[in-house]
């Protein structure tokens, strides 16, 4: 019996949350929006997907969420292949929050909107209020439960969208430029909510973003350009070549720009992703030299 378990465990390697191989997709049948893309994201990873407008990021996200049919290639979610017959099972594992706060608010109040997904999953009516209130509290929207969308800010609507997705107990959360239409306050709040979700629940996060700060805080960066994968690695590695970053339309964190300038004056920094880290290191350098 024990032996059997041992063999069983050994035979199945730790499954990635998301594994994409040779993924290709085309909207018009002529040009490929996503071409031969492959990467994998381990469970519990905070992964950012970056690239220029039109680089295929959102298309890739929709393919992974099962909202578009791939042309070729494979997508494995938690080891399950994305095929028509598995679609419902896979969708239950994935929650996705979109860019436009208005266009994903389905209910007429916050309460109804969070309930929408529960209704689809046939959750018994008696259990709904408890679930709704729990997740509204998790994103700080308890006092707005009866509010209509027209009375909420973009950031508040996005928090409702997150609560609505969380209520369906997904393992992987996709954010498709979820903060790009928000003001700085709204952005910060959403980023904070995502961070907390990642840390407290060890959810796998796939976030499509242009936010350099968010990218530098993530565990893994998938860089796309013109529908093709450029690289999938740590933020340090991805940011290491400024030429590549410039070519793919991104920017590098300010601390890295500073480190590059410092190098010209003979000062070398190791920690360059965050300002705080760079300042600490400069302090050490000053006292030891």
């Amino acid at each position: 019996m024990f032996f059997f378990f041992y063999v069983y465990n050994k035979g199945v390697p730790a499954m990635s949350a998301v594994e994409v191989k040779n993924l290709t997709f085309s909207y018009d049948g002529q040009t490929n929006a996503v071409e031969d893309v492959g990467f994998s994201v381990e469970k519990g990873t905070y992964c950012t997907i970056v690239g220029r407008n039109g680089s295929g990021k959102s298309t890739a996200a929709k393919l992974i969420a099962g909202l578009l049919d791939k042309k070729s290639g494979t997508i494995l979610i938690d080891g399950i292949a994305m095929e028509r017959e598995n679609l419902l099972e896979i969708r239950r594992k994935i929650g996705i929050v979109f860019q436009n706060p208005d266009n994903q608010f389905i209910g007429s109040t916050v309460r109804d909107d969070i309930a929408f997904g529960l209704e689809n999953h046939c959750v018994p009516q008696a259990e709904m209020d408890g679930i709704i209130e729990h997740f509204a509290a998790e994103v700080g929207m308890t006092s707005y439960l009866e509010s209509e969308p027209s009375r909420l800010s973009g950031g508040q609507k996005q928090r409702v969208a997150i609560a609505g997705v969380l209520a369906m107990a997904p393992e992987i959360l996709i954010f498709d430029e979820a903060t790009s239409m928000l003001d700085p306050q709204g952005k910060d709040r959403i980023k904070q909510v995502i961070r907390t979700l990642h840390e407290d629940r060890s959810l796998t996060i796939l976030s499509i973003t242009h936010d350099i700060e968010e990218v530098s805080m993530s565990d893994q960066v998938v860089l796309l350009d013109k529908g093709k994968l450029v690289m999938s690695d740590t933020p340090e590695a991805v940011f290491s070549s400024e030429d590549r970053i410039r070519k793919t339309g991104l920017d590098i964190p300010f601390s890295m720009k500073l480190a590059k300038e410092l190098k010209r004056y003979g000062v070398r920094l190791d920690e360059t992703l965050r300002i705080e880290g760079a300042v600490e290191e400069l302090c050490r350098l000053r006292s030891t030299k």
Binding site: R91, F98, Q104, L118, N120, H121, P124, A161, V165
Partner: protein
Amino acid sequence: MGNFVLGKYIPLNSPVHRLDPRAKIIAMLAFLIAVFIPAGWIGYAVLFVIAAGTILLSRLSFGFIWKSMKPMIVMMIFLFLMNCLMIRTGEVLVTLGKFSVYTGAVAQTLYIVVRLLLMIMITTCLTATTKPLDMTLGIEDLLMPASKIGVPAHEIAMLISIALRFIPDLIEETMRIMKAQESRGVDMKEGRFSEKIAAILSLIVPLFVSAFQRADDLANAMEARGYAPGEKRTRYKVLHMRAADWLTVVGANAVLAGVIVLARILP
């Protein structure tokens, strides 16, 4: 836009507001049928008293009902004129040149006006006291038996509630596009005919593009949250019929029956 009150929900706390939407819809239908039964002036008097009573119970002001009626006045005047020209029964009331107005025309018009008045009174009572969402829930429940013969009751209700949800957004969007085009020199009010066509196109095309974009986003959002048309799903909002609701249904149907009897015994 702000002055248009027909069909608008007025959030108040009244016994009528608290009624089950299904009871209200059935009662309204019974009342509407009763309005079309020719039970003479006595019948209309009874119905008027009931409608006025309902308005009082709903705590709606008569000023509000009057406002809902306003858009209908032009139509009523038009009807009156048409009737005066067409109907030649009864005695001649006045003669204006070639035309004569008969008593029959006046009576006929009054009937129509009274019917319209009663219909507006009672439908306003329904729409002003029932949240749009509750209304769709009520319609969905009432259509449920029909879903056995293939009427997509749930889909119809979903359609209505989403339409209601996006009306304010689309109005806002229209204003925004209008302003953007005005900034490009479009004059929505004045200008030659060809300019007006261009002005309208510059509003309609972007509005359509954005509505399609919205529809696409919305479909994705619904699908991603597990919605599949025709699939079984539970419902968060469940309606409960209470004593007052049954009373309303029974009462409304009793009135209908009464009016039918009245119509029979009238000469």
